[in-house]
Structures are given as structure tokens and as C-alpha cells.
Amino acid sequence: MKKPDIEKSLILTALGAFLIFAVGAVMTTIVPPMVDKSFWDAGEHDVHEYTEQELRGIAIYKSQGCVYCHTQQVRKLASDQRRYGWRLVEAPASESWEYVNDKDHFLGTKRTGPDLARVGGKYSSEWHWAHFKDPRNMGEKFESPNGAYQSASIMPSFKYLSDDEIKDLTAYIQTLGRNKNWRKDADGNPLNDYEQ
């Protein structure tokens, strides 16, 4: 077979490889946020603005790498919505506008631990305290009904974080998923006993 002339030219080969790649690059990076404004604009939805303390919590979440074990997205799947729901209420699936105020996204790729997108309000802050200190031994108060559960947890203990750091982190965790005000029953009462 006769070789095409383009294979004689550095410029043409390089330019060709670039242009043909650029089509897909533009279509998948620049075009999507132009077509779908919810990538960066929440529109009429109210999105939580993080406080100073919560921002410190986000920095800890990032530097501790929680995202390598926890995703933050309830996918549009019945199994996800049921699993991450609460008291027979299914968790609403995550939507793109909910994330517009997240300078650092933590959608994640791996669920070694459960999804955290809707975990805010699921447990009391006291629970988180005990859990961060030692997930495998949370003390009498939060003993799981059948101790076997806790023995299987492979979440690391974060006892090396200072008390203030754990408080900041917990403050952030408690905001997760609140943009959709779903932890309420039909009359608007909070579903979690300790929040009433």
C-alpha cells in the first residue's frame, strides 16, 4: 500500500491529531455547561451557603481523603434511593444543581463505605463523634443491636483529628443532602427523633 503524504509531515500529523481530538474535547467539556445551566446555576432552588466552620470541615474531608471510600451521589436507581433513604422514605436522587456551591466536588468513584450524599441529619452529631473516634467501638450508647456489624467496619479511626477538627467535619457532614428538604414527614415534622 502506498503511504499517504501526511505521514511525511510532522506538522500535518500533529495538527491532524490535535484537531480531531479537539472536536470531542470541546463537545464534552465546554459545550455541556453551556447547554445544561444546572452545572453551575441552581436557578430558583435554594442552595445552602457554607459557613466558615463547614468550609473548614470540607478542607478536612478533602485532606483526609474520605472521597476514596465514600461517594456523594444518590444515583437515579431504586436500589440507591431505597438504601440511602430513611424510615421507609426513599432518598431523592441527587441532581446537578445541588452541587453548585461545592468548590470541591466529592462525587467519588468507589463505595467502600456507604454513600454520604443524604447523610446529613441521619445521625446525631454525638454519634458522628463516637464514630470518628473509633468506628469499631462506639461505646455503650451507640452499640449496634448486634455487635457483629461494628466488627466488620473497615473505616479508619480518625482519633488523631483534634476535637475542633471533628466538630468542623461533623458540621459539614450534617449539611449533606439538605438542599432537598426530604427528612420530613407529610406534616413537615423532622423524621429524626433527636432533631425534634
Binding site: M1, K3, P4, E7, L10, T13, A14, A17, I20, F21, V23, G24, A25, M27, T28, T29, P32, P33, V35, S38, F39, W40, K62, S63, Q64, G65, Y68, C69, R75, K76, L77, S79, R83, A93, S94, S96, E98, Y99, V100, N101, D102, K103, D104, H105, L107, G108, T109, K110, R111, T112, R136, Y149, A152, S153, I154, M155, P156, S157, K159, Y160
Partner: protein, 454 residues
């Protein structure tokens, strides 16, 4: 400066970093079984994981690829490396940058982009190194003494150009203040996916296009297939990033686009694979199993097919529901970067190390043993990750299972992962010894020669 110093520097330091990366992998695997091991902040599981991926990607694989291409390019183009000095300067800067980056990761100074955790300063230094690499690549092509550019050169040029944009998008654009939430996620998956597809794939394929015909002493099977493979991959690969977010909070159409293009990837991959196997099939029989190099190339190619068939399969929405976010994905990523491209890189190092020192490989037998142990440990290593992924995926479907129960089902798989990972590490030790002996060791016959002359 002596010819090939840059190639030699990069190859040796990449081989050493490979050992560090594997050790970190073992430590991470151990923490999955015994989370209380090494309970201090700097050794925490996420930091070890970030270090494992970054050292593997940049300090081992990318560095090995660049070193090997520094050697291959001048051979293909019948010339010298454009600037040996620039190459060595880049090698030194690159290694120092990565050491600095490793310290940042251990201290938790990271970005939130997978594979792009290294902080902004380090990113910028890496970009500078990359520009130095690019100057050398383009320069060497420009001063060539042959008319036509061989396939390996197209892929190298492609890798240099694409990577520049992919890397800057993932590491620097994502850090801009106005890039938040899903927009940032979209860009970071554009990067994550194309880091594998447009950095390591073209560089690995470029090496294989040189090494397979050379080692087997036969011409490449079909020029037409080479062309189809290259031009189609440059078009389709970049579209697929959003398949990391199937069912997730991102536009449905974008997911569909990513799925369709994930399927089109079968075309260039089959073209490349047919070409490689065609070359194997037409080669003289005696060369096909001669020592570790053809074996590593063959096995790398087999892993390459499997990874690239898994990709489209995982992108099917129904399959994705089960496999996504589980250990399956970890198995898939390992088969691409360790199975396919690290096998190619090891073949390249076995090929080039003796040429750099002007003597035979220290021990072919040891090379074969390395190959067999590594292959026979990596197959169960990948398989156990897929199996545990599927177990986990189905366990999650049943709302009766609490999350911790679904976790308990994976205990055995996690143990198997550590054990098979240990096999991979043992094989690596043989590889390291063989390569270091080839570079620095004394050979039995040389020692004899010396005693005789005394």
C-alpha cells in the same frame, strides 16, 4: 553529554519507584483487612491510596514510558535525541518534583481530583517537565533522517499533544474559582479517563509498535490497520469521560454520548490488536517464546483486549448499575495500567537495558520466572476484584442487607487480593534484580575473563 543518559536515568528511577508503588499497594490492601494497622494520619488509608496511584502513574509508568521513548525515537528516526542535556535536566527536575509531590500527599495537601491529587505548584512543575519532553520529541522528529513517520511516532506525537490539554484541564482548570460542583466533576472525569486513554494508551501502543516487530524480527502486519487504529482512537477516546457518572447527577444526554463512544472504542482497539496478533502470527516461531520480552508483550496485548472489551461492557446502563462504585472498577483499572501498559513498559526495559550497557540481559531464565509469577498472580488478582465487585453490586440491590453486612461478604476477597498482590511484588523483586544487575552487576563470564587475564 553521553548519548542515552536521559533514557537511562529515567528507566532506572522508574524501576525503583515501581517498587515503592507496589509496596504502597500492599499496605493499602492490608488496611482493608486490618484497618488498625498503622493508625497515624500520615499512613492513613486514603493517603496511601493516593500515593499508590500517583507514584504508579507518574513516577513509574509515565517515567518509564518517557525513558523508553527517549531511546526508541532516535532509533526509528535514524538520528540522535534532539538535546540530551534537556532530557537529563528534565529527568532530574521530574524526579525532584515527584518526590515533593509525594511529601505533599503524605501531609494531606491535595486537590480533590482523582489521579490529579498533586497540589497546584507540583502540577505546574510537571507541566514544565512535559513541555521539556515535548520539545525533545518534536525536535527529534524535526531532525530525522528518514522521510516517513512510523506509527510509533504518530502515537508519541498524539500523546504529547493530547496530554498537554488533558493534564491542564484536569489539574489546573478544575482548580479555577468558578469551576464548581458538577462542572468540576465533568472536567475531572474528562481528565481521569483520558489520562489512561490519551497518555498511557498511546505511549504504550507506541512502544509496542516498535518492540513487537523488532523483537520478533518481522514487519508489522498491516499498515492500513495501523492507520485506522490511530486516527479513530484520536477521534473517539476523548468523548467518553461521562461514563464515570452513569445514573449520576449529570445530563442524561451526556451519559448517552459517553456510552456510545465507549462502544466505538472497540473499532480502534480491535484494529491495533489484530495488527499486533497478526505480527505475532507471522513471526518466525523461534522468536515468539524467546525469553521474557515477547511473553510480556503478548500478555500485555491480551490484557489490553480484555480491558478494552470490559470498558464498553461496563458502560451499558444495566451492567453499570451492578459494577460501578465497587471493587470491579478497581480490577478494571489495574488490568489497564498494570496488566497492559506496565507489561509493555517492563518488556521495553528488558529490551533496552542490555542495549544501554552493551551486553546481554543478566538472566533470561530469571526474566521468564518473573514473567510467569507476575502473570499467574495478576490473573487471580484481577479476577478476585471483579468477583468481589459483582458480589457487592448484587448485595447492594437487596435493601434487607445493611451496608456493613454487604461489607462482611468481601472479607475473603480482600485477603485474596493481598495474597495475590504479594505474588506480584515477589515477581517485581526478580525484575528489579535482573535490571539492576544488567546495568551495574558483574556477570559470571566477565568475572571469569578477569581472573584469566590476571
Amino acid at each position: 553529554m553521553k548519548q542515552d543518559t536521559a533514557a537511562k536515568t529515567m528507566i532506572i528511577s522508574s524501576v525503583l519507584f515501581f517498587g515503592l508503588a507496589l509496596t504502597l499497594g500492599l499496605l493499602t490492601a492490608l488496611k482493608f483487612i486490618a484497618p488498625t494497622v498503622g493508625e497515624i494520619e500520615y499512613l492513613s488509608l486514603p493517603r496511601m491510596r493516593m500515593l499508590h496511584t500517583n507514584v504508579n502513574l507518574y513516577a513509574w509508568l509515565l517515567q518509564a514510558n518517557m525513558g523508553i521513548l527517549f531511546w526508541i525515537l532516535p532509533r526509528i528516526l535514524h538520528t540522535k535525541l534532539f538535546s540530551e542535556k534537556l532530557g537529563v535536566a528534565m529527568a532530574v527536575l521530574y524526579n525532584l518534583t515527584l518526590l515533593g509531590g509525594a511529601v505533599c500527599i503524605v501531609l494531606g495537601k491535595v486537590q480533590n481530583v482523582e489521579y490529579g491529587e498533586l497540589p497546584l505548584v507540583i502540577d505546574i512543575l510537571i507541566v514544565i517537565c512535559w513541555v521539556m519532553f515535548a520539545v525533545n520529541v518534536f525536535g527529534t522528529v524535526a531532525i530525522r533522517k528518514v522521510k516517513y513517520l512510523y506509527v510509533s511516532v504518530w502515537y508519541t506525537l498524539g500523546a504529547v499533544i493530547w496530554t498537554t490539554f488533558v493534564y491542564i484541564t484536569g489539574n489546573i482548570i478544575t482548580a479555577l474559582p468558578m469551576v464548581t460542583g458538577i462542572n468540576q466533576a465533568n472536567l475531572s472525569w474528562f481528565f481521569v479517563h483520558n489520562a489512561v486513554g490519551l497518555i498511557f494508551t498511546p505511549m504504550g501502543v507506541a512502544m509496542a509498535y516498535y518492540l513487537i516487530p523488532k523483537q520478533l524480527n518481522t514487519p508489522i502486519y498491516s499498515h492500513k490497520l495501523s492507520m485506522i487504529g490511530f486516527w479513530v482512537i484520536s477521534f473517539v477516546y476523548v468523548w467518553t469521560g461521562a461514563h464515570h457518572m452513569i445514573h449520576g447527577p449529570i445530563s442524561h444526554w451526556l451519559q448517552t454520548v459517553a456510552i456510545i463512544f465507549s462502544f466505538s472504542l472497540i473499532i480502534p482497539v480491535i484494529a491495533v490488536i489484530t495488527n499486533f496478533f497478526g505480527t505475532f502470527a507471522t513471526a518466525p516461531r523461534s522468536t515468539r517464546m524467546d525469553g521474557p520480552i515477547p511473553k510480556l508483550l503478548m500478555m500485555g496485548t491480551i490484557y489490553y483486549i480484555f480491558t478494552c472489551l470490559q470498558g464498553p461492557f461496563q458502560a451499558i446502563r444495566a451492567v453499570n448499575e451492578i459494577t460501578s462504585k465497587t471493587d470491579w472498577v478497581v480490577g478494571h483499572a489495574h488490568m489497564a495500567l498494570f496488566g497492559a501498559f506496565s507489561f509493555y513498559a517492563m518488556a521495553g526495559i528488558y529490551y533496552i537495558a542490555p542495549k544501554l550497557t552493551g551486553r546481554e540481559l543478566y538472566s533470561k531464565k530469571m526474566g521468564d520466572l518473573h514473567f510467569w509469577i507476575m502473570t499467574l498472580s495478576s490473573i487471580p488478582f484481577f479476577a478476585v476484584l471483579w468477583i468481589s465487585g459483582v458480589i457487592q453490586g448484587f448485595a447492594w440491590l437487596n435493601p434487607e442487607n445493611t451496608f456493613v453486612q454487604t461489607l462482611a461478604a468481601l472479607k475473603h476477597a480482600h485477603v485474596m487480593r493481598l495474597v495475590t498482590g504479594g505474588g506480584i511484588f515477589a515477581a517485581y523483586v526478580l525484575f528489579l534484580y535482573n535490571v539492576l544487575q544488567t546495568f551495574f552487576g558483574k556477570y559470571a563470564d566477565e568475572a571469569d575473563a578477569e581472573t584469566i587475564s590476571e
